[in-house]
Amino acid sequence: MTLFKSLRVRASQGTQYIADLREAVPLGFRGLPVIAGEPCPSECRACADVCPTRAITLSPVTLDLGRCVFCDECVPACPQNKIAFSPDPRMASNTRMQLSVREGKEELVRARASATFCQLFGRSLKLRQVSAGGCNACELELGALANVNFDVQRFGIEWVASPRHADALVLSGPLTRNMAAAVQLAWDAMPDPRFVVAVGACAISGGLYAEGECIERTFLERVGPTLYVPGCPPHPLTFANAILDLLGVA
C-alpha cells in the first residue's frame, strides 16, 4: 500500500526543477527597478519623501538597491509615472557603489570576480548562512535555493552546517548588537580563503533598521562583503544569478 501511495506522489511530483536559472523570469515579481529618463517637475520630491529607507536621491533620480525594500510606495507617488519595477531578478553586484539604478540608465554592471577567485570556488562553493536580525524572509528564500525547484546543488553550491566547512559567510539581517559576537565567532571559525555575502537590504545597508540603537555593524566595516544581493527579501533567482555571475559559471 505504502509503495502505491509513494508512486502516486512521484507521479504527481513530475519534474520540478527550473531548467535554466540564468534565463528564468519570475512572473509578477517586483524586481529590478526601471526609471524613465524624462525630466521631473521642478522641486518634486514625492518619490524620495515616501521612501521608508531613503533609498532615492534626486537629480538625477537614483535608486540605491542596497537600501530599497521594494515596497512599491514610490511608484504611485511619482506624478510622472517614472518609476516601475520589472520582474527581472538579476541585480546583484560585487561593489556597493554599483548597486544603484539611475534614471534613463539601462544596464547594471554584473558581479564578476577575478580568475583566481573563480578557480578557487567555481566548481564547489560551501555556504554558511548566519541570520543577525533577519526576519526569516531572507532565510526562507535562501533555504529555498536548495529545494527541488531551484536546486543550486547542481552547480556544486551547498549550505553547510558548520562555519568550519564553509567558503562564504552569507549574512542576512541588519546585524543586531546581540548577534555581534556570534557573527565574529562564525567568521573566525572559517578557514581561508573565505568571503562574505550580504543578503537583503538589512544586511547591505541596515535597511529599515539603519542607525538603530540595537544595531552593531562594525563587523562589515572590518570585513567588507565580496557580493551584495539586494532585495527584501531577494528572490532565490537573484541570489543564484549573483553567485553564478560572480563565479563566471554558466
Binding site: V9, S12, P52, D72, E73, A137, C232
Partner: protein, 490 residues
Amino acid sequence: MNASVVVHTVTASALPVADIKAWRADLVSKLQSGQRLLTMYGRPADDEVVITTVLQAEDRTLQVLRTRVQAQLGYHALTSEHPALHCFERELHEQTGLRVAGHPWLKPLRFEGQPQAAMNDYPFYRIEGKEVHEVAVGPIHAGVIEPGSFRFMCLGEQVHHLEIQLGYQHRGVERRLLQGKPTQLAPLVETIAGDSSVAHTWAYCAALEQLCGCELPIEVEVARAVGLELERVAMHLATLSGLAADIGFLQGATSYGRLRTTAINTLMRLCGSRFGRGALRPGGVGLRLSAELVPLLLANLELLRNDLAIINECFVTAHTVKHRLRAVGVLTHERALALGIVGVAARASGVACDARDGMSRGAYQVLPVATCLAKEGDCYARALVRIAEMDVSLAWLSSILALYPRWDQPRKALTALAPDQLVVSMVEGFRGEVVHCLETGGSGELVHYKVQDPSLRNWMGLAIAVRDNEISDFPICNKSFDLSYCGHDL
C-alpha cells in the same frame, strides 16, 4: 468597522485607573473566572509605570484594565498562580524597570538595552548531579534559520529541562515604530516577522483604520483575507516540509517544498512579493486581481488541493512518520491552557482558539472557517492540524473567489488619527494570534505601539513539551511548533 478581524477601541482617558492592589485582585478574579489574558504591557510615565491589561471573556469580548504604580514599588508577581503571565511580567520588568516581586523566573526576555556581553551571562537553570550533563546549542544553528540559544539538562539521552535564551534578533522594532509617521509604517511592520507579514500588517492596518475612522468595502476585506490564507497555506507547507526532512521522509520534504513554491508564487502574482510585501496598506490593498489572473489563481488552488491530498495520504499514513511523530513532544491540554499557548500549538492540544472564528461581519462572516482541533498535543497532532488547516484555507479561498472575483478598489487616504484612543487588534496568523495595541495621545500622536507575536507565549510551550523526550527528538519538536525568533525578539 474592520469587521474581518478583532478590533477593540476604548477612550484612553476614560479608562478607570485602578489602584495597584485593586487591579491585581480584579485581574486574579477575572483570570480565575475563566477569562483569558490577551496581552499585558507597560509604559513609563515619570517615575511611575502605566500597566495595560487586555482580557478576553468566553464570549470573546475584550476588556481593558489599567493601573499605575511607582516603578520601585511594583506589585507581587502573578506568574506563580498563573504561569501564562510569565512572559508578560518579564517583559514588563525588562522594558520599564518595574519591580515585579516574587517572580519565579524573572530572566531577560530579549536583552533590550543591555550590552552585548550580557548575552553570555544568561542565568541558565542548572541541575546538579554526577549523571547530569548539559548540552548547549546555538545561538547559530546548523540550518538556514534564525538564532537562539538552547540549553538542555539531560540524564543520558533524556531531556530533564530545556531552557531557551532568546534576544539575539532584537532590532528595537517597537521603538522604531514610534519614530516613523504612523500612516507609513507598513514596510516596517512587514518585517516584524517576515514569514507573517500579512498577519502583522493586517493587525496594523486594522488598528490604524479604526483610529482614522476609515471603513473599507468588503472586497478589500476579502482581498486581505486571501493574502492571509495564502500566507497560512505557504507557511504550513514550509513547516511540514521541514518536519518531513527532519525525520528523513524525503518525499514529504520535496513535495511539500515544491507545493510551497506554488503557494508563494501565487501570492507573488497578486502583489509582487512571495512574502506578501506590499499586499496590505492602510486604507486598502496592494493585491491586484486582474481578470486574466482569476483562472490562474483558481488553477493553482486546484493544483494545491489535488497534489496535497496525494502527499498528505502518503505522509500521515506512513508507518515511519507515525512512529517518529506520535507521542513525541507532548503538550497536554492542561499545560497548554495553563501556559496560555495560542494558535496551532494550542489547537493541537485541544484548546479551541482561533481569532477568525465567530466574526459577526467581514470576510470570515461571509464564509466562516472551521477551527481545526486535535487532542493528543504531540508532534503528529500539530502536523495533522496544519494539514487540516491548509485544506480548510484552500477550500475557503476557492469559494471566496467565486463570490468576489473582483477587488479593484482604490486605496483610501487616511486622515488624522483620533486623539486619546487605545485600539487593540488581533489577527489569526499561521502561528496564532498576532496582537497590536496602538494608543494615541492628546493631539493624535502615537504614544505607544505594542506588538505581540504568538511566539512570545509559545516558546515556553516548546520548552515544556520537550521534557522527558530524547534529546535527538528536539529538532522535530522544534519544527512542529515552528516559532518565530524575530517575532519574539522584536
